[in-house]
Amino acid sequence: MSTTATIDQAPGASAEPQINYLNARYGVKSWLLTLDHKRIGLLYLGTITVMFIVGGIAATLMRLNLLEPQGALVEPETYNKLFSTHGIVMVFFFLVPSIPATLGNFLIPLMIGARDVAFPKLNLLSWYVFATACCLMLYVVATGGVDTGWTFYTPYSSLSSHTDVFLAAMAIFIGGFSSILTGMNFVVTIHKMRAPGMTWFRLPLFIWAMYATSVIFVLATPVIAVTMFLLMLERLLHVGIFDPALGGDPLLFQHMFWFYSHPAVYIMILPSMGVISELITAFSRKKIFGYSFIAFSSLAIAVISFLVWGHHMFVSGQSVYAGLVFSVLSFLVAIPSAVKVFNWTATLYKGSISYEAPMLYALGFIGLFTIGGLTGLFLASLATDVHLNGTYFIVAHFHYIMVGGAVMALMGGLHFWWPKITGRLYPDLWARFAALVIFIGFNLTFFPQFVLGYLGMPRRYAMYPAEFQALNVLSSAGASVLAVGYIIPVIYLIWSLRSGPIAGPNPWGAKGLEWTTQSPPLTENFEKTPIVTEEAYNYETAPAPEVARV
């Protein structure tokens, strides 16, 4: 190895191109028939990026329309289709698979020291199922979309809407099976395929988070499948399952829908929390504070998440008693999340902190998730939820968690593991700049919506009273900044694939089995099955970061 590194190589990288999972086999067939979890993770990354763009375009058009009280861009009918498309695509076809199917697929075997997941063929099948569902959904969007909202409340969706609810429900039904297969694979992989010495309590916290997420995948997704199945049959046969005129109960739909969709939001945030645990330790270069508390809080969140669905229905006509029960359980589910935030903060204490882009995303996550989570208390609280339900306060709350939380974690994770996935480094200055733009744009977009919500502006409104215009314009302005913030990484990340400095096996000097192997890894991940002898995050034995940073 030369002592003076050439301009396009990071220290530690070898000069010759090595064999790795990306160049081991070439050709479209080698990708479409791959059984390699890493390639499957990348297939998913491509698919969810496409869906994110579709959902993002819908959001852009929505915010443009909301510049004016009477609607600046589209008719209400179109606006209704836009927010429905945005919600369905972003929830079911972007957020739910995002970290699990991309980072999860890529990293889980690497982190536990395995060659692949337990069922590689099922893994590939899950991507095909997902891609099919995405194509079906894109077809629905292209042929007019649906206007039911992502929540599909009956009887509007089952009897009244003139849009293609049947196919949209089918797309979600099919997509659900991809989640189930992924969840099954991860549960078995984590249980059965850990390397020698990798006990449960030596696992990286990302694995604990993915395990908890997979439990939810496996238990909750079948219920949305059945719910969509019943909705499809209702649209087809008009038999009155949710039609009160025929003895059906529209509230039953809501119970069944939220029984999945509440745990689903934890599917979206638990993996993000796992990523943050990894980023915080790596960029403070010390052991995480309260390892077992964070691990158990992931499990606690997964369990309690199944018990709180009724908090979406406080004003739906369910009984006062039910409201009380769901309210107390909803407060309970907030506590483990708070525990995590405090533990991450404590990890920084006496750390050796650096501010590369992944760390900026992680710190941003902690701040925004704190705000988003605390605003959840307003909604778990019955008396305030009566006023806030169905308003922009809810919209702001969940965007703080899903965008300020989950998407920032995805960005942070992508940046952190980018050198491992691609073997390249990206320009960190641009990355930090983009992180900052995203943070600012995000807050400008969504903070005004808290105020709008308390003022009483309902959500899903194509038009609104003039007094709400100022805050709407502010929010739309913020959205344009946020959009720019998302475009910048696309540019430099793609640039880095060809022209970024070549990365060594461990550019960040991080702990974790994935960093002990080459970048990008071999198809079978490790030349020899690793044997684990130390606790997680033992930074005393960590190598130095390969690139000196401040």
Partner: protein
């Protein structure tokens, strides 16, 4: 220093009062909801600022120095873990108790509440005053009087939302939901549909007019000279032939309806049910699900023969019937 702090606090208070951060507080519960909201905001601001500042402080104090590679160990602290589990839990308990008390208190309307009926349909609100006047997308109410809204939808789920009163309730097809409020400030306030219901959901909005009691009485009588709901119901009762079975005499096929509203009714399988709006609605639409003690279950269904408005008229009529002396067998 003190003067500066005072100035800062005063400006913030003025800013808070001047900035439109909450809708007018125009009902008896609005202020108490606002107080809880401010408390929650305070908690949010406190913990956010706490976390943000600690992170900022650590970011600066523990930034990596040149040449430093690892950090010294810090042990987990059971004391810290317990503290930051227990303290948030206690705060949550406080919020839960406060909020639930408010919610439960607001859930039951006072016994003397004035009842007004709401029918939601795509995409308008039809308000029916029992005295007869009917309005679309508008609700006139007297100030200082408890109002109970009994609501149903004619098609899909809607939501009845008056931000200024801090009240909201979904409006469902096939059943009645209700919400109550007492407006304590005259004025005009927004009425929104809060549950997405299709194309013109954002135009299913209106105004609530809170008037002094004398103005309200004047408004009621100045409205179109129509019969009261109960009078319309009486006519319908005869028209539909209800009076052939429910004659009120000892030999009538169906039970007497005089004075039954609000009272428990003995049911055939044992036990009792209170005769409320929902009970009457089910008796008219799905009589096979109601079996009153001492009477055969032979009442025909009127599904498809009466719409939501007519149902309200019939219910108002039954409500208006005074209890007579009961004869044997009833």
């Amino acid at each position: 220093m003190m003067g500066l702090t005072q100035f800062a606090l005063n400006s913030m208070a003025a800013l808070w009062a001047g900035l439109p951060l909450s809708p007018p507080a125009a009902s008896s519960i609005a202020e108490s909801v606002d107080h809880l909201y401010y408390f929650l905001t305070g908690i949010t601001v406190f913990f956010s600022v706490l976390i943000f500042s600690i992170i900022f402080y650590f970011m600066i104090k523990y930034r990596r120095r040149p040449g430093q590679q690892t950090a010294p160990e810090t042990h987990t602290s059971m004391f810290l873990e317990l503290s930051w589990t227990i303290i948030p839990s206690l705060i949550c308990v406080v919020i839960f108790v406060w909020s639930s008390a408010l919610f439960v208190r607001n859930a039951r309307p006072p016994a003397n509440a004035r009842e007004i009926f709401v029918i939601g349909k795509q995409w308008m609100w039809q308000i029916q005053h029992p005295e007869g006047p009917r309005e679309i997308d508008a609700l006139h109410v007297p100030v200082g009087e408890a109002i109970k809204l009994t609501m149903t939808s004619q098609d899909v789920i809607h939501g009845f939302y008056i931000p200024a009163f801090r009240v909201k309730k979904d409006v469902l097809p096939g059943r009645y939901t209700s919400v109550w409020f007492k407006a304590d400030q005259a004025g005009v306030y927004h009425l929104f549909c809060s549950q997405y219901c299709g194309t013109n959901h954002s135009e299913m909005i209106g105004w609530v007019y809170v008037m002094s009691p004398t103005d309200y009485a004047a408004w009621l009588s100045a409205g179109e000279q129509s019969e009261s709901l109960a009078q319309q119901g009486a006519r319908l009762f005869t028209q539909l032939g209800c009076d052939t079975c429910h004659t009120g005499t000892a030999s009538s096929t169906g039970p007497s309806l005089a004075g039954i509203y609000g009272k428990p009714q003995k049911m055939a399988g044992g036990g009792t049910q209170v005769v409320d709006d929902t009970f009457l609605r089910e008796a008219i639409l799905t009589p096979s699900t109601i079996h009153v003690a001492g009477y055969p279950q032979i009442m025909p269904t009127f599904t498809g023969q009466v719409d939501e408005e007519q149902l309200l008229q019939l219910i108002a009529y039954v409500k208006s019937l005074q209890p007579q002396e009961r004869t044997n067998g009833q």
